[in-house]
Point group: C2
Chain length 405, copies 2
């Protein structure tokens, strides 16, 4: 009898969790497992704000996929997945095709600009290692050029961050620590530098405890960050951004660096493959299969799971993607073994910590509010836990964060 073929698209948190669990739960003769990923490395999406600010080298936020997969059980294919052909049960890659018996779509998200003009052209997004390196170098090049040019363009020293959500705030925390270093490196007076955060919602970090939000904003303001809350970006231009001011007026913030950190949607493959979706995300069944498809699971940023308590989707996080990966591995193992009774997914929210730089954070962990160095310590433990869950002790030792006070 032919072994069933399991194809996992994406080596992010969800995909790697699926593969590392499957390789434990299935023997070599039970199934063929194929992992497809654009790069030969995994990167920590939740650490990219550090690589983008230049506070952590990008090699610290990635590791080789081969370091965590069991090559005797899992084949690795480096390719970009373009489309799923549900009828033919195959995946179209940029360099070939792969058929599957079971498919896991774990391809992560993409930046969502909500149709705001110019954002895709003039703003950077913290979406992967390539983008993070470019953002880091863009900012540094602006500082270097400002110092070298005869006619100074002060907008080179202005950075606009669009969005005071999780990514925006964590990036601002790193920038707050990085700007003084950059000023020293390029002999620039720090008073000339502006970092402006623009957020359309009536509060930073929507959904967070207001007391913690207040703490975060106060500490970031101390580091020189300016907040424009309740301010929507209308347009990005080559010179900066235009925001709405009152009913009919607009205001311009000139900046040579604009980072858009306010929206995530699912991977383009979801729409290209005609899954039922909302902004590229598939509202999955309780067992994490795509509606109407018995052989396709969707997890991570491409999936949408409703938080019944508030009747809104859970935000896409590494935590939920990893829990989904664990469940999908168990469910596929059941299917492979002929058991069609699948488990349902319930999210076990262990808490959320938002960093404010290397030395400060806010969060709620196991229901308790934490701030400052204690929260920062817990954030590092959360980061290390993700490494441990996927790569065990060796990976944690190799890539973990142990710069603890």
């Amino acid at each position: 009898m032919k072994r069933p073929k399991i194809v996992v698209l994406g080596a992010g948190y969800g995909g790697l969790m699926t593969v590392t669990r499957l390789q434990k739960q299935l023997g070599s003769n039970d199934a063929d497992i194929v992992l497809v990923n654009k790069n030969d490395y995994h990167y920590e999406t939740t650490w990219l704000h550090e690589a983008s600010a230049g506070t952590l080298h990008h090699d610290r936020v990635r590791y080789d996929v081969k370091d965590v997969i069991d090559r005797s059980k899992v084949d690795f294919v480096q390719a970009t997945a373009l489309k799923v052909d549900h009828q033919a049960k195959k995946v179209i890659l940029d360099n070939g095709e792969l058929d599957y018996d079971y498919l896991v779509v774990a391809l992560g998200g993409a930046s969502e600009t909500f149709g705001i003009q110019g954002l895709d052209k003039y703003a950077f997004s913290i979406v992967n290692v390539n983008a993070a390196r470019q953002i880091r170098e863009h900012i540094e090049y602006q500082f270097a050029t400002y110092k070298a040019e005869e006619v100074k363009n002060p907008n080179r020293l202005t950075i606009v961050v669009g969005g005071a959500g999780f990514t925006g705030i964590e990036f601002l925390g790193e920038l707050g620590n990085r700007i003084p270093e950059l000023c020293k490196e390029y002999d620039i007076d720090q008073k000339l530098v502006r970092v402006i955060c623009v957020e359309a919602a009536p509060s930073a970090l929507p959904g967070f405890d207001p007391e913690l939000v207040k703490y975060a904003m106060a500490n970031l303001e101390k580091k020189g960050i300016e907040f424009k809350i309740g301010t929507a970006i209308k347009e990005a231009t080559p010179e900066g951004i235009i925001v709405a001011k009152g009913e009919n007026e607009t205001e311009e913030f000139k900046a040579e660096t604009v980072i858009w950190a306010a929206g995530v949607r699912g991977n383009p493959i979801i729409e290209a493959s005609e899954f039922e979706n909302m902004r590229g995300r598939v509202k999955v069944e309780p067992d994490l299969r795509a509606p109407g498809l018995s052989d396709v699971f969707v997890i991570g940023d491409c999936s949408l799971v409703i938080n019944e308590e508030i009747n809104r989707p859970y935000p896409p996080t590494a935590q939920i993607a990893m829990q989904q990966g664990e469940l999908v591995a168990r469910n596929i193992a059941r299917l492979v073994k002929g058991n069609t009774h699948l488990e349902s997914f319930t999210f076990d929210n262990k808490g959320t910590v938002c960093s404010l730089g290397d030395d400060d954070a806010i969060g709620v962990v196991f229901g308790k509010k934490v701030t400052g160095t204690k929260a920062s310590f817990m954030k590092k433990m959360i980061d290390n836990r993700a490494l441990y869950m996927i790569g065990g002790v060796p990976l944690t030792v190799k890539k973990g964060k142990f710069n603890i006070f």
Copy 2:
């Protein structure tokens, strides 16, 4: 009786040599000494190619002026000197004026583009720390952007160096070592990178021993450098450069980075102050005074001294500037002490070593040809000697090059 006031413009090799010798030769009551410099630091002009390539941090190529001057004898003024008013015996600064009894103009050189269209706008020149940092960051930003952009612009990975003279060749040597590092940093295949050196003269390193030139070119070619010798740049454009090809044809080299390293002229103050000059350089009297001016000495890149043997000017180097500084200090000390019989300058050429990266070099030292690690060692000793001459053992220990094999 009023103490005579000695003003030294520029804290480069010549200026600092003058001041550090004057502060030894004169007592506090003999004269007032004022040193004027744009920055509060001295930089090693002859090391800037390393900072530009990113192989040596710019803080390694500079030190505080205050570390080498005797503050009890020398006042330091941070300012840009704009013009000398010979009649009124004063110097116009960007932030004031200074009168003088004796003036030393030691302001260094500026880039000379020989009227080639677009070079001033589209090419970088390795002229100071600010420019070096910008070049380093520009190159890195091109690599980062190439990797991040969806539609790849291969010209981001092409660097054109205009000029295979001393600076051009030394910069190419550093680039040869830096490119593999950049490719690793940004996950770029080194085969995609091009470094092209364009030189109008019929040979690289004109004036150097042909055997040494051959050695240098062969070793740089091994590191991937392409040479276009006997090829004149006609124009620099936003896309690269256009060179002459044959009689009437032209050829374009597309490159996002163009470094112009082929010409030096004197500081603009020379022309602004209506000194007799050729390309901003003053053909000085044997005692290093400007023609017709008994109280103004000109040294370093702003001065022009004829090599009688070949009836051509000595190229402007750190070695000649420092020897001039020593002589000017002695001559001014004589004048201050009422002795009007001044010494004449003769250049004592101890040799020249041209580096080809951290690990290779060519040169002639005390009349002997040297190559490879031996030459590279001598180059580092020459660099250390400049530190020692100006700042003694403490500065040499602090800033010297001791990465010896």
